[in-house]
Symmetry: D2
Subunit: 461 residues, 4 copies
């Protein structure tokens, strides 16, 4: 097909954050490997040296002999200048530091509350949200004022709260949230196809109907070509119920991030749908069935990710970043498995694609409230994202999802209005917070105190 042009140049991208994590490099590599689009990237990070380093690394990536595109890079002085003129804005920030994350994840443990990730829901996800919402409010205002027509891609967690804040502050924003957890579920199904039927399939060949909220997303129809995979998965979940099944594998999961899908199999047995995220995430959305204590977690085949491990990893990445920036270590051009650059191409009109995405509910899930940030498939076309109607959450799952949808909405409102009573009632309504009202309130206050630098609540208000 001849679609007029097959290459677009002069694209302006603002990249917000990225200083402390590997996302930025992956994104830049994906761009370098793609010959159809090219332009300029403005890096902005509150940690300016990190952005400077990413610029140097990015330039090496673009200079790689196998690079098909050669984006230029610069470091922006402030948010406004990063955004002005942008066609695309990528947001990938770390809200606070590892010190705050330590509070998010580990403070609740003293109260008997265990979290495997601590960045989405649970007490940790909530406290993280309280400091993230004001940052995203600032970003949303800056986009409204400097690049209102840009497409905004968010990678930051807690995803639903971040994207929800963007729309809350600037309803006209063209923002969406990308997450690879569903890809992991597709990969598991591809692995199952290989294991059970000897078929080699790419994860992108697995058609899925996606419905739910980020990290608590569900598949009610899965197929591979003419083949319905649902009955195969039912047998598979049954036969691997006790033993679990391998590890999710692939670049998006590392050692501490893997699982053997036992939680997924148990959820399938109980609810009849395939939960499409890593077990570490799924477990946090439920009452503490899978997170009662470390032994329970062990038994269910996944791991609690200690923040110490993250600190180590970050340190390694920092060192690597220095080596890469200085040229001491050479960059490589491996694929990330992410789709961000593909979605950009579709929004430019170079292709059309259907993929899962986080967007305000405009009816794609009929029995969740309008405006809630939900994850479903959408059709990406030139300057347009249209959700595909995914249907209704089934009766048995609806209350589980609704509870988090309410909590996420209330979290945003509590954070934006500094409504103490709403913050407390929202915190207490999290399924993992089973310690009672008074104790729970104490925990919240302790966590707020421990992260006070980043959220601006004084004395828990």
């Amino acid at each position: 097909m001849d679609r007029g042009v097959d290459r677009v140049e002069g694209i302006q991208v603002a990249y917000i954050g990225g200083g402390s994590r590997g996302w930025a490099w992956s994104f830049l590599k994906d761009l370098a490997r793609d010959g159809q689009i090219e332009g300029h990237i403005r890096l902005y990070d509150i940690n300016r040296p990190a952005a400077e380093r990413n610029k140097l690394i990015g330039e090496q990536i673009m200079a790689h002999p196998e690079a098909l595109a050669h984006w230029s890079l610069s470091v922006a002085d402030d948010l406004a200048s990063a955004l002005t003129g942008a066609d695309f804005v990528v947001i990938s920030i770390l809200p606070g530091t590892m010190d705050e994350m330590r509070v998010d994840v580990h403070a609740p443990e003293r109260y008997g509350i265990w979290q495997s990730v601590g960045d989405t829901v649970g007490p940790g996800g909530f406290i993280r949200a309280l400091r993230t919402v004001p940052m995203f409010a600032t970003i949303a205002e800056a986009i409204r004022d400097n690049s209102p027509d840009a497409w905004v891609i968010n990678y930051t967690n807690p995803m639903s709260v971040c994207v929800g804040t963007l729309y809350d502050v600037f309803p006209g924003i063209k923002a969406f949230g990308c997450c690879h957890e569903v890809f992991g579920a597709q990969q598991m199904l591809a692995d199952m196809l290989k294991a059970d039927a000897g078929i080699d399939a790419q994860r992108t060949d697995i058609s899925v109907n996606v419905l739910g909220i980020n990290h608590f997303t569900w598949l009610n129809r899965v197929s591979y070509g003419t083949l319905d995979l649902m009955p195969m998965f039912a047998r598979f979940a049954q036969s691997h119920y006790e033993s679990g099944f391998g590890e999710a594998g692939e670049s998006w999961v590392g050692a501490f991030f893997s699982c053997n899908h036992r939680v997924k199999f148990d959820l399938f047995r109980r609810y009849g749908l395939i939960a499409a995220a890593g077990d570490r995430h799924l477990a946090e959305f439920m009452p503490p069935w899978y997170l009662r204590d470390p032994e329970t977690v062990e038994r269910w085949g996944f791991r609690l990710t200690p923040v110490d491990y993250r600190v180590d990893e970050q340190k390694k990445r920092d060192e690597k970043s220095l080596r890469l920036a200085s040229g001491e270590e050479l960059v490589t051009l491996e694929k990330s498995g992410e789709e961000g650059h593909l979605l950009m191409k579709a929004l430019l009109g170079l292709t059309e694609m259907v993929s899962n995405v986080n967007l305000p509910n405009a009816g794609q899930i009929e029995n969740l409230p309008r405006g809630a940030i939900v994850e479903t498939n959408a059709l990406f076309r030139r300057d347009s994202i249209q959700p595909v109607i995914a249907g209704a959450m089934p009766d048995n799952l609806l209350p589980l999802v609704q509870r988090h949808v309410s909590n996420q909405r209330n979290t945003i409102r509590a954070a934006r209005t500094r409504d103490r009573a709403l913050a407390v009632s929202t915190f207490l309504n999290d399924p993992l917070v089973t310690v009672g009202a008074e104790v729970g309130e104490n925990l919240m206050d302790e966590m707020l105190a421990g992260t006070a630098k980043y959220h601006g609540w004084v004395d828990g208000r």
Copy 2:
């Protein structure tokens, strides 16, 4: 006002149940005391002797020297003949016996789950619902076939599930649920007016805007004439927070049924609205903040109602019933405080009134699902009940109410379709069931086994 006629005769009432409780007598006394309506009552109870006894008692009530109306009574052989020709149907049944109620209330205690009532939500309310839904399905079919145009007044608990089943089975039914718990809240406000401002007010003079679901109903506007009572209640709840306030008093509460409103005061502090039900009911809708153990209950100023006590009371009522039926004891004609006969008069066109009622949501609460059984005010007129738009549940309360709304819907569906998985996930989603998935499932099975005579599930299916 001259409204053409001021008296209606020849009214046909079918009274379903009533054999084992005092409701029937109260209702008959209210009818006897009202000179505007008269007719015939057909009593139907699966315990026919109880119905026979009620007939004799009813005849004494109607023969009381102060009676203004003299309804005739008969005992119906079956449901169909009770219903045929009825203008009104009153449903007030005991689903099962005290033996089953003992399981509902006390079986969970061995698992550390305490319930103050056990007939609405919680594990007890759920198991009670599983055996009540089929009975109400039978009644709904009988009404559809024999008296489709009758107005149907339900008093049976669990109210929301009972009324929901009626509409689920026969969508054209003209049914509504009456409950006096809101009256108790009005009375508490009247008592407050007396205590704090020296004003003598009737509970019916307290204007309230009602929104929520039965036994978990909330008031967001309360006034007495030109006086806004909300600020007065805020001070009142504050000053009585520790001590509690008296007892609700009046005929609808007895010794074990009273509370000192401390739960209500705590809920007000946390959520900003006045919970309009007895604390015993309210506590069961929340996580076990107020029901952690008997000491916690004590501290919050209400009581667990032991089934032994109910058995005693029932025995006394049975004995009294024999004395009344035989004429050994003379009937009295006191007011019940209930409104059923007044609503009947409004539906006949003799008056118009606004009162709280349980009905399928047709938009009276904008952010709860259509069709959920909700409690709000409604306008009662000739052959018409129109809900008054009550507004939206506030953000902080919404998830608490939504959770029960989902559970109630799923309870009806699980009961009607014998869907084991849905029953389990619904049971586990109750806020009081904090024992984990496996243990919870065991409890459910134990309770099903203990009440097997009445629900028809075999081996938990």
Copy 3:
């Protein structure tokens, strides 16, 4: 019933407009005749001498020997000072003068389009709306800035567009629209009761369920006490179909404003509901079935109201106003039949009442869009108006009502944004505009040119 206090003093009312019509006097007389409320009225009119005159007349009314309340009056210098401190705002303005009204009503006649009133829908209603919307936008902003908590009662036409503009500009406004057309329908039913059954009934004794939009309102349930009036009306409409039935009579209709209900009878035959407005209004909402030409109008038993007649009437009122102001003529204290003062008393908490009112649709009519200004019953209580759920427009009437609802919404938007294309397409979508697109556009331009002084569109833009 003792509701604490039975009299409220110190009420502040802002009366906007009223200089040119009899409404102000009626309202003041109703206040004077009611002993339960009293306070101060600030009159504001862009025609200040008219307001001054009304002040003098009002003072005479309050000094009438039979007056039970004695409100003081003043003339405000500007809108802001009229509104500041107001508990109630009454809006009753004439948008433009009789010169503009002459264009509204008579310009279309040269194109073969006849209108009986020309102030609600039709080409006249539309052009009137284009000049009224900016005035109401100004008033709404002033209320937002000076008296955001006041209750706002609108009497101005086109009612739906006026109330819609208030909410569009200031969504937090507590505004509602009062109209007596439904009262006229109740009176007709009372007259029918007298004529057919010999029963003397007050119009307020006729219970009606109201649904629709102002001047195109429908009754689907009507009763008098225990008596269903619907079958009686069916016979009545049949037997008077050819001859019509008397005249609506009563103070709110004069010679040119009466009808013999033949249009109403025909609409009943076609649609099965009772249209609850004067035939002059009803006819304008339909295609030109009843307004094809003056002969058709004559045949259907109503009249075209010539603006010359209105000019004469206004002149008489002006002269009378001078005589009353000067004391040459003595004021009288007759009842108006309006309910404005009663609704004020209910909003103060002195009473509760149910009456028909124009409000944004919050679900009271389930199949009309949220936010559309609809007319249904509502419950008036202390500081609260709650619509009563009226049900759905029946299938056959729905498209007729929807068409005007869309037009009214588009009229407000076109007027506020000066969207020429939207104005044209809205004008052409009126059922009375059957002259084709080009001719219709010419008519619109001619009418805009003829009323240019008041709407600010230049050259039809």
Copy 4:
């Protein structure tokens, strides 16, 4: 991509109707030209000889040397046996004969009502619907009883009413309606690209966002690759406003079916969106702006299609059918331009595609009622059609579309319940029926009398 299998055999298709039109042949040729699917087709037509002839012709098509698939064919004795076992059902019937169509199209002309097609809306579309609805009710019941899981493709007009009836009768049906009118609009845009920019594009390369109802469908976003076509169309519509632009060309339009898009250009000027159907169809949905009389039609560059012409064409097709069946004339294998076989392949899982389709509104158009049959894009996948959220109808178009949506719903209800009053009010609410209530009713009765053989209304009831 390897999707497991790339060919599906053994597919069972039931083809209902097709005896009298060219659709069946086109469909069979498309199947023959596609090597990926194969199976058996059961032909059913109330005119059995026509089905027999189609069987013979179909066999020649499948035996064509260039055929890649070789479907077998049989003629079914009755509807039930045609449907039993079907994976796909294709419905393409002629409701009645040319005699009835003559009444539909030409009877209104004596009343001054001109129609260019007369099969969708207008008096002709309505009367056609009255006789089609019972036929589709019969088909829906047969599908429910014999092939409830089959995918059902409807090609019959009036499309919205036909598909609506299928869902009304059997809510679980998996039916959708296919129409090529949007393809014509895409082709016009491709022609524009060629004419204005010298770009050769296929119609399938034109991305369109589709919203509206069948034959009154609108495009609010159109693009070709990275190119936004909306500004180009705005210039194009302006420059060709007076002259029109060529003819739509291509196999799906013949001489009497073409237009020069002047109506489309005028609608664009007035409403800002591209109407995506032939002008002959579009004109019928509007008031008689373009259909006042034959001269007006001429001026707007389209034609009234006389039924005599259709009779001639049918006769030619009949003759050709005899020649083809006998082998006197050889079949050819040209492409039809239709997509039915492609959608079948997507539903089998062989491909995925996005195309426009008629389905019950599940939120794909947010401001049209749920359940209304609307036309938007949808994602076709294995055993699944998911509408893509198309957005809201713009304010100015909404009332035009809503009016027909209401009429279509009321047409189905009137036809199914034989509700005379609803039929009359629906007939009178059509934009082309501007003759007043009495005259309109006479016309309806005359048309009912003239088509009495097929609809079963006796004396207009």
